[in-house]
Symmetry: C2
């Protein structure tokens, strides 16, 4: 099936910040076949008239826990460790696959409706999450965050090792690589050196990326230094955890020595500004990371700490937050934030997307040209980063397939999903004695 | 005309944080006549089934410059003083009434669609802005910010004095008080003591409120102290500027001595978190202001520094920003932010709105119960403050009149407005030799 976008303002997200007015973008199969200002030859099954609206790469959400939707607003107003230990972890023990599936579908609906085409998700019940992603049609790097609190580590004593192996066997490179599996450690403070070594070896031997929470809170960062004599990044690096393509979520309390290691090893810092502010974790040193040569991408984190998965919101906050706290209106630009949400995310996840060019995956998002908040448009990047809302997305195409259009979900039963979350998953959250 | 809202989750915004499930709210004329969980007696011209969705007071945007929409994204990336002096002020000199009207209508469309029912607007060409507000159907406290750079002040030498007097004569208490006029000084740094005295007297003698920019940037705050030996609040207070109900926009660099004066005089601080971050102005000391007993309300500022007028966005940022920069997840709560956007705003503007109760103005907003980002709803306040977007608003009622419903503007010609902004106002922005 060949599709032609016409009459769009194409924000290519190439290195030169090209914005093509009155552009044509042709798609065939899962990929983009041509981009330009004159109509390409050939016949098209469908022509989509953008009416002058912005066509941009789909957003890449590099740190999510998509099934947490049922916990939206649950246990708010506590610091991260208290919230995790006394609110989130206990209820997570009660989930079953049916609840996880409903909650994952709801989370994916939010993401799709707000222009996300690719995610890096770390959670549990990952087989179920993978099936939900497979059905929803977007792309994902999936991982089950490894946790081990025991004294004597062995892969047999750690259920997460088996889960990671099974996830890899079942889902890695599913549907031509639309779903990939990453290795994962939940975090330094929830695991031990035995698991770090195993996970590093698992990733290297299988050719996988790595997804880890890093230095989200001051307490986590400082306690790691007390325990191991070095920060989380430097501690885990010693065990080979970052000898593969890796994403480090949060990095709020990372220090210059950490940035040097991250730049050298090519570790991406995933900035989660909404979650970090809401939980009181702090403000990540994004301009310093960038200056040190670290790739910075963007994430929403789970809705339990955001409380949405609208990456446009995180993009805007990323764009303005550093200006405010550093008293410098140029600390980050609109383009910086846009790159974090697109091209940098693609690099972080090792994917052939994040820019609009022939040969790239056809992950594309069209914005409503008639939305009052996008009128006028002096500068498309500026309008995307500062003025757009996720609700301005009128079409979401992932790998050449339109999965959302004009408010309609084409791959998820929206009404059934809402009922399942409200009638099944939420009551399970509060069920006693489990 | 009597209207009944039924099957709504009513967030009353009373002092006790009441949330009424399965509530009925009855409206007659411009006011609310009853609120409760059983159906009121009487016949209703229309019954609106909220399908379990949240009904809340309309948002109150206490600091806006609504006609600046054509400058959305214009001159981005400069500090406030540079941006004002070299980008905004020069183009403002070129506006005519037709451009102002188109831009005001566009700004009001954005506000109405995202749940705002009342604004405090400070700008120029205010007669035209007033007509736009009158036609759009929402409520407004309007002011033309007084500016005077000359040496010898006299009311005759200051066109803004005449404009304020004319605005008062023409529009004050229009349509039963839906439009009110406030006195206004643009700021300390754009005026002189003669104008301060005149404006203080103008407000007192006419029984008007006062709207002033205060301590937005460190430079403004410090230069005022150098010039007059005291901060902007304390300098203007000496001239009687705050001897009436008053709103002070920004207050980013205010100090403990300022907070004491503000609490004593009942001056409202209007927090504009998006604008303050974007322009690099800083983070207002909101928890300190609240602790000092200052009423804190919320504003978007103009779209040239935001770049939207979706107050839900500012509400969320207000709710999470202090947590992040103070490393305290309880620095501000969801209820704090909600009060800033509703009840505190009503107090700031001297209006009988901002809460849902019999006898209050019927300024009401209904949220979409089916929006994925509002499912589930453990806590309505939490969902409003952290998860809702302006796009979740499916109905906006101002003073008993539905002015927006399911994406349709009932008082503004949306298509004509967009055309006027793009074809008339924007070209005027770039016209040479004016």
């Amino acid at each position: 099936m060949a599709i032609l976008f016409k009459n769009v303002t194409a924000v290519l997200m190439d290195g030169s910040h090209t914005v093509l007015p009155n552009a044509f973008v042709a798609v065939e199969g899962t990929g983009i076949t041509s981009v330009g200002t004159s109509r390409p030859s050939g016949d098209f099954t469908r022509e989509i008239d953008g009416r002058g609206g912005i066509l941009m790469p789909g957003l890449i959400n590099c740190h999510t826990h998509v099934p947490m939707t049922a916990m939206r607003g649950y246990g708010d107003g506590h610091d991260l460790q208290d919230w995790l230990n006394n609110f989130i972890f206990p209820v997570e023990a009660r989930w079953d696959d049916r609840a996880i599936r409903a909650c994952a579908d709801l989370g994916l609906m939010e993401m799709i409706a707000s222009g996300t085409t690719c995610i890096a998700d770390m959670y549990m019940h990952t087989q179920t999450v993978a099936q939900a992603v497979a059905d929803a049609g977007l792309s994902a790097n999936l991982s089950c965050g490894g946790v081990f609190f025991g004294e004597d580590f062995s892969p047999a004593a750690c259920p997460d090792c088996r889960s990671q192996e099974e996830l890899f066997q079942t889902w890695h490179n599913h549907d031509g690589g639309r779903i990939r599996v990453d290795a994962s450690l939940h975090a330094e403070y929830t695991s031990k050196p035995g698991l770090w070594e195993w996970t590093a070896d698992f990733a290297k031997s299988r050719g996988l990326g790595m997804h880890v929470h890093i230095s989200e809170t001051r307490r986590e960062h400082e306690e790691c230094k007390s325990r191991w004599g070095a920060s989380p990044i430097r501690t885990l690096a010693k065990y080979g955890v970052f000898d593969v393509r890796a994403i480090a979520a949060h990095c709020v309390w990372t220090e210059p020595e950490d940035w040097a290691v991250m730049a050298e090893k090519g570790i991406t810092a995933v900035h989660n500004p909404v979650s970090n502010l809401k939980l009181g974790s702090g403000v990540a040193p994004v301009p310093d990371l960038m200056k040190a040569g670290v790739n910075v991408a963007l994430g929403t984190d789970g809705v339990s700490s955001n409380n949405t998965t609208d990456l446009f919101e995180d993009m805007k906050l990323a764009a303005i937050l550093q200006n405010g706290v550093r008293h410098d209106p140029m600390a980050l630009t609109a383009w910086d934030a846009l790159e974090m949400a697109t091209a940098n995310g693609a690099r972080a996840l090792g994917r052939n997307t994040g820019t609009i060019a022939a040969g790239k995956d056809a992950d594309l998002v069209l914005l409503d040209p008639a939305a009052p908040n996008l009128v006028p448009c002096h500068d498309a990047a500026n309008n995307i980063a500062y003025a757009a809302h996720g609700s301005n997305v009128i079409l979401n195409m992932c790998r050449g397939r339109v999965i959302y259009e004009n408010g309609t979900f084409l791959t998820i039963d929206a009404e059934k999903t809402r009922r399942e979350v409200e009638d099944y998953a939420v009551p399970m959250l509060f069920r006693k004695g489990q």
